[in-house]
Symmetry: C2
Subunit: 196 residues, 2 copies
DNA sequence: ATATTGAACGATCTGTTGATTGTTCAGGCC
DNA sequence: GGCCTGAACAATCAACAGATCGTTCAATAT
């Protein structure tokens, strides 16, 4: 079955890419891992970069899925969910960087080569964010005219905490302190205007 | 006089750096422009990079000075000043990029090589921002416990609009639309909480 | 003595060559 | 006839040599 083979290739690629790096692994090696010829790989993926893209896509989906859990978690205010969303996102990226900088390396390569890919990931997270805002609005906790738009603005405002290239110099502690400040700024703006 | 010679060197360097680029100009050329030997340049600047740093510092100071004018401009609310600050900053950076990408090139080089330099520039702008916040507080328009800290958070939240590398793909129009959204988010959070 | 030079030095850049690698495809295999 | 191979091809990379350039400093000029 074609899908099984795709999985096999992805597995082998993930192993090699994270261990030796994207640039250092050859298609020939991948092929050997899967007991096939290098030419045959191209029946399953159009190019080497597409294999990396699929690996990164899965990581991105996994991150987004973990964030989606915040929507279902009971007993939290919308503000708490928003904060959890932002912090979980930061910590995930930070630890991915710390644990295996090769993944980040790959993500950067694909972002450079395939601009749409990054937007796709951003969109996935934005949908969760938008969900949190909608929840807040329904609970009367937030006042947002357009959750999708506001989600986009929150992403813009917290961009600093999503790009490893930007925060590689800062410690997680310092970053969390800053993110908390930005969060406070945002959440105050989301609260409904009380009438005097 | 030593200062006069420094000016002469800066002038020659600015001409060549912006015209041919930092990498393509040699110390020998700079020296010839100033009718001296290359070795003699080192009596005035410790290195080539320091010449570039001084040029960038002056540009940064000029930008900050232009922003400071917002503090003195009469008949504006603090919110209007804040908005003007953010937009003017964006437009200045954007047009600098558009007009002469060599300057941005230099700024990036120095930022990479001299991390403190970038903070210095950020600090200059932050002081103006902090001033705007203080004005807003005194007028009862903003509720900010610590203007310096809040200024830092606003800088973090608007980072996307300060890094040419990040927005090079977007048009000024789209950027201004986004900045307006982020501004709205922030300014709502700065308004004093009205009691129900 | 101080100011300046320019040759000398090491680091970095450039351009070139040979090897490696991503990708294709004509041919064999089931 | 569809599946797969591996040689062929072009693009990219690595390594090396030679040149260039930033920087220093002993020697010179003022």
């Amino acid at each position: 079955m074609s899908d099984e083979v795709c999985e096999r290739i992805i597995e082998a690629a993930e192993e090699r890419f994270t261990h030796y790096g994207y640039g250092k692994t050859t298609m020939a090696e991948l092929a050997r891992d899967c007991d096939m010829s290098s030419g045959n790989l191209y029946r399953f993926f159009p190019s080497k970069l597409d294999i990396a893209e699929e690996i990164c896509r899965r990581a991105s989906i996994q991150t987004a899925d973990a964030l989606t859990a915040i929507l279902d978690s009971p007993g939290m205010s919308a503000a708490e969910r928003l904060k959890e969303f932002l912090f979980q996102d930061l910590r995930t990226t930070f630890h991915a960087l710390e644990k295996n900088h090769r993944i980040v390396e790959m993500a950067q390569l694909i972002t450079a080569e395939r601009p749409e890919f990054h937007n796709e990931g951003l969109k996935r997270e934005r949908d969760v964010l938008s969900g949190i805002l909608s929840m807040g609005r329904e609970a009367g906790e937030f006042e947002v005219a357009d959750p999708d738009f506001t989600a986009e603005m929150i992403q813009a405002a917290t961009l600093k905490f999503s790009y490893p290239q930007l925060f590689s110099r800062l410690s997680l502690e310092k970053l969390e302190l800053e993110l908390d400040g930005v969060y406070q700024l945002i959440v105050r703006g989301l609260a409904p205007a009380k009438v005097a």
